[in-house]
């Protein structure tokens, strides 16, 4: 990170010097948790950044810093960006939540946008996508396709966003296949190809023939490909280079429209703090093409699920659903409210194992 950081700050310093002469473009900063070439999460955020550049051309100037560790390092990087004149800063990982809030308090005139978090301020908005809707589609395919009835799930950190995804995938896999069982491994990283590959291999060795991942690299896809007879789903990005097998579909994050709209709002002076949480319907969550390795009827069921989620006729968390300990959570026909979903910290009934503390 140090080197990239250094080069970016050099570029930013240079940009600052010239900005004073030209008529001040809107400066938008992005803080990334992984490298822009991860092929997943960070890659898609950077596609969003490029879309902003393409949309506004000279009127906007973007900077980014990649591989920023969550924690104190992040606070330093965000502060540096704010000091160097950014008007709008997107911090694109859950762990940047407190650093973003801290820095925002010091720079009331800079607008911040934090992805996947739940803390807001007058100059901090939050935004996220309803990935769990995509997980529902994945769960449908996974439940239908598994022959061993074991689905492996690589979790990153035990935070609500990840737990929501596990629950949603499990509920919908169970719906089409009552015998399905989830094996969950926590990698405690967003991006570490070696660890992710190891986790995928272990799950495959323990009988999983479907691997779902909530980490950012393509390493689990490569591991599944090497093992053969295992299917995977692209995470955050299409990961189409691993299709048609093992990758049979994917969840694609599309941040571009949001980034463009928010940058426009800053230019117009209409920016206001808030919370945006869009799903398949609004296009923030895309479902990558379902490959021909999936039987036609399964594909049809998955697409029907996608359509129902998109037009709002079905909610991925619709009762009856019990919590893991057997206590009732949602009654028949009841749907989960956003507040509970945002802070979800429990497994639904049927999932084995404990969430690490």
């Amino acid at each position: 990170m140090k080197l990239t950081n250094l080069m970016t700050s050099a570029a930013m310093a240079f940009g600052l010097a010239t900005a004073a002469l030209a008529d001040d473009p809107t400066k938008v900063g992005f803080v990334y948790v992984g490298p822009v070439g991860d092929g997943g999460w960070t890659y898609e955020h950077d596609q969003g950044r490029k879309a902003v550049v393409a949309e506004f051309g000279d009127k906007v100037e973007t900077v980014y810093v990649e591989n920023v560790a969550e924690g104190p390092d992040a606070e330093r990087v965000i502060t540096q960006m704010a000091l160097q004149g950014a008007d709008l800063i997107f911090t694109t990982s859950f762990g940047y939540m407190d650093p973003t809030i801290n820095v925002a308090a010091k720079f009331p005139n800079v607008r911040f946008e934090h992805a996947t978090g739940y803390k807001q301020a007058d100059n901090v908005a939050t935004y996220s996508a309803r990935f769990y809707e995509g997980r529902a589609v994945q769960g449908t395919i996974a439940g239908n396709m598994t022959k061993s009835n074991i689905v492996g799930y690589i979790g990153s950190y035990p935070i609500p966003e990840v737990i929501r995804g596990i629950n949603s995938a499990y509920i919908h896999a169970k719906k089409v296949n009552p015998d399905v069982e989830f094996k969950i491994v926590w990698a405690f990283t967003w991006f570490d190809p070696a660890k992710e590959a190891d986790a995928a291999k272990v799950l495959i060795e323990q009988g999983a023939d479907v691997i779902l991942q909530h980490t950012d690299s393509t390493a689990p896809q490569a591991a599944a490909q090497a093992a053969g007879n295992v299917i995977t789903f692209g995470q955050a990005s299409d990961m189409a280079e691993y299709g048609p097998l093992p990758r049979v579909s994917s969840i694609i994050d599309d941040w571009a429209p949001y980034y463009i709209a928010r940058t426009q709002a800053v230019m117009d002076g209409t920016w206001a703090s808030g919370n945006t949480w869009d799903g398949i319907g609004a296009g923030m969550v895309g479902i990558g093409e379902i490959s021909d390795s999936v039987p036609a009827d399964v594909k049809e069921a998955a697409l029907a699920m996608k359509a129902a989620l998109a037009d709002g006729s079905y909610h991925a968390f619709t009762g009856p659903i019990n919590k893991q300990d057997g206590s009732a959570w949602l009654a028949e026909g009841e749907v989960a409210d956003d507040g509970t979903l945002a802070g979800m910290s429990f497994y639904v009934e049927g999932i084995e194992g404990d969430i690490p503390q």
């Binding site: 990170m1 591989n67 969950i184 570490d192 190809p193 490569a222």
Partner: protein, 306 residues
């Protein structure tokens, strides 16, 4: 909890794969230390090997060529260390540490355009009949070529050190360089060759991670394996066979931890992550009673005029 889900055969097989980078790096460092040089730059040489091997394999389409390049790159970087410590008489600890930092930075720079790219795949060895044997087949005969190369290197190093004249000279240089010099051996030349061998092995270990184990390139992907290799040499008390044992023990920790997690046993990750170092500290304490196992001239610079 369902321990029956863990398949012991596959566990051993994947443990061997996980331990191979460690084997390469540790056996190289063992030879270096046997010659009386302490090179703390293992991590740096590994990561340079990882990126050089990856880049070469992607550009040429041949993983084997990648491994050759990785060995070359590791050895190349170690020459820097050799020049610093053998000719310029620089402090070995400081030079080694700077080699690690330099390697990490340089590899990040070299690898910029290789992030997220898929390398050509290395075929697994498929020996008819033998690979299909139950139990023994997947454990012993179902791996890629480089894993066997690693085992071969261990055997070769053991044989050379124990039985050959070269091994005797190497040990003499490491135990007492003044005496070796008086006998007419070229201490500096022998040490440089040992350092380069260590660099080549570390490079191979790095490339094994980026080309086979993961396979992908990312900044800092060796993630401390070089340091574990250093600890491993001490743990093995400078004996090649114990390196093999220790590598399987240390390398197995990660694999076992993930297996336990998938089987529903929750052991905090942190305990297993620190266990190699804990074991090493323990062994160091035990070894402190018996100093004979470390090469006597380890870490001491040699100059003919002194």
């Amino acid at each position: 909890m369902d321990l029956s889900a863990i398949n012991p055969i596959l566990l051993v097989a994947s443990l061997m794969v996980a331990a191979t980078p460690l084997l390469f790096a540790a056996i190289g460092e063992l030879v270096v230390e046997k010659s009386g040089v302490l090179n703390l730059g293992v991590e740096g040489m590994m990561i340079i090997g990882a990126v050089a091997g990856f880049a070469t394999a992607v550009e040429s389409g041949s993983p084997m060529l990648g491994f050759v390049a990785a060995a070359g790159a590791g050895a190349g970087l170690s020459v820097l260390f050799a020049v610093l410590t053998q000719y310029a008489q620089a402090n070995q600890v400081a030079s080694g540490l700077s080699l690690t930092l330099f390697g990490l930075g340089l590899s990040a720079l070299m690898g910029q355009s290789y992030v997220g790219i898929k390398p050509p795949q290395m075929q697994k060895l498929d020996i008819p009949v033998l690979s299909d044997l139950p139990v023994v087949g997947p454990i012993l005969f179902g791996h890629d070529l480089m894993l066997y190369v690693a085992l071969g290197v261990i055997t070769a190093v053991w044989a050379v050190i124990k039985f050959s004249r070269i091994g005797l000279v190497l040990r003499a240089v490491g135990e007492n360089h003044d005496a070796a010099h008086a006998l007419g051996y070229k201490v500096v030349r022998i040490r440089i060759m040992a350092i380069m061998f260590g660099g080549a092995c570390a490079g191979l270990g790095g490339a094994y991670i980026s080309l086979i184990r993961v396979p992908q390139w990312t900044e800092g992907m060796t993630a401390g394996i070089g340091w574990i290799a250093l600890a491993l040499v001490v743990f093995a008390s400078w004996k090649p066979w114990r390196v093999l044992l220790g590598a399987y023990l240390f390398g197995g920790v990660t694999v076992v931890q993930l297996n336990l997690q998938a089987a529903g046993v929750a052991i905090p990750v942190e305990y297993l992550a620190m266990s190699p170092y804990l074991i090493t500290i323990l062994v160091l304490v035990i070894l402190s009673a018996d100093k004979s196992s470390a090469p006597a001239a380890l870490g001491r610079n040699f100059h003919a005029a002194r």
